[in-house]
């Protein structure tokens, strides 16, 4: 079977997915995802030229409601599960400067 995705592709997916993976994991996922994607190629057997895509089971359109304020979560409740906090804020490592993360 021809290789459907390369390790380079898998690394790119890991980066987009924000998953820090080891070389060994990348190798495993490359192989496993390749097999699953190979199976999905089945979809190419069908002619779907004039078929409308279906994103949702009920073909719903916009659901509207009156724009009335209601009680939400308090700051305290919102922060309750945060791994690090400095009320009323969530605490994160330095974003700008040397640690740009770009």
């Amino acid at each position: 079977m021809t290789q459907i995705i390369s390790e380079k592709d898998a690394r790119h997916m890991a980066k987009l997915s924000r998953l820090k993976l080891s070389d060994e994991q990348i190798a495993d996922y490359t192989q496993q995802l390749g097999r699953v994607l190979g199976y999905m190629d089945k979809l190419k057997e069908l002619d779907v030229t004039d078929v409308e895509p279906m994103a949702h089971a009920m073909d719903m359109t916009n659901v509207l409601r009156a724009d009335e304020p209601v009680e939400g979560l308090s700051v305290e409740e919102s922060l309750a599960n945060a791994p690090a906090q400095s009320p009323p804020f969530f605490k994160v490592p330095k974003v700008l400067g040397d640690a740009s993360g770009a």
Partner: protein
Amino acid sequence: MNPCSTTLTQLRDAIAKGEISAVQTAQAYLDRIALHDPTIHAFHETYNERTLERAQQVDDGKITGPLAGVPIAIKDNLCTTFGRTTCSSKILDNFQAPYTATAVAKLEAAGAIVLGKTNMDEFAMGSSTENSARGMTANPWDTTRVPGGSSGGSAAAVAADFAPGALGSDTGGSIRQPAALCGVVGMKPTYGRISRYGLVAFASSLDQIGPFCRSVEDAALLLDAITGHDPLDSTSLNEPVPEHYKTVRQGTPKNLRIGLAKQYMSDANDPALTKAVEQAIEVYKQAGAEIVEVDLPHTEYGIAVYYVVATAEASSNLARYDGIHYGHRTENPDDLVDLYAASRAEGFGEEVKRRIMLGTYVLCSGYYDAYYLRALKVRRLIKNDFEQAFEQCDAILCPTTTGPAFKAGDKTDDPLAMYLNDVYTVNANLSGIPGISLPAGLTDEGLPVAVQLFGSWFDEARLLQIAQVYETATSHQHHRPTMGN
């Protein structure tokens, strides 16, 4: 009476008539869980004190309702303000939800009591409950086998008589398949019937909450409590709610037409499944139903469509686990991006990472048209198949699975083999139709098998009536596993 060996409906009636108290009932279930759950591991945690307090309030007349005093187990992806909600994931290990899921709140408003949270595949991704960061669940019929998944803990809890009913969620078969492998009734209603508010999202266009129980009547009673529009979930249906229980009590529907599709009768099915479907056909013929052949030509594409759509939606839904707002955070990250990537890599299990990667791939520019868009188009073809079929019949009869429960560890090395477990269940989710899995006897080895009925959109009440015809004629639901010790 032994409250652990009755149906939910009988138990409800016995409590209402004062034949048994809610406290006695709750204590009996908690004792049974304490005795046998170390072997099964259906539950992550039980709320003993809270359960007994609420039971006392039922006995004191302070809590009333159609489910007053009935203990219920709930899957650990349903948020509750009491206890933890972990989705069997390390990333949510200590998560305490700030609100309660609508379906759970409705159950308790009807008088039911949440016993505890049940094990599941991490984020509902799996078909065996082996993808749990918190250990496996054993099948009560044979503890070397899986209970199915992803709602394996809820199915095992009902099968092991740890609860007369349970809630699960079904994204590609995660209620019906474990119900089948554990020999209990499991139902996925029409998409949108039950609010998803407070259900931790996996694939939002497919996820639906539904009941596990010991009889069709029980399913009707539970659906009555949890069905209905919820302003907090804009995808919940704003349609009249059927009176499920009342309809089921009315008895057999007239002029039934039962559809059979050859696409579900593969030679690869276990012979016990083929026999079960044949027996079900006989039951319906005896009941005066007309058996009609229907064609569902795009059935075989369901798995491919499902694993494109479900992983695409999951990759987006699970982006919220960032190590900042809640959940696991890595120690000593290099910078912000490293904090995200390391927290997620440490917190998610292998299958969840695999699906996030897959979903990211199929949504990527360059592959979007070939996989995601194409899958959405084939999804339409699968839905069209059902629309045409339901012009000719009232329900479609098929197996729920291709075979009985498999051994733990048998499929864990092969993700694709595990995905193919869902072959007879995913198309109901892709189309949005309701489906119910019913116990259909035992294999020679003593393992449960099941038949499945699909109904048309919004047609749950009649689907339950049709299911009851089979249940009454066969009494397979009375088979119970023998618990060890």
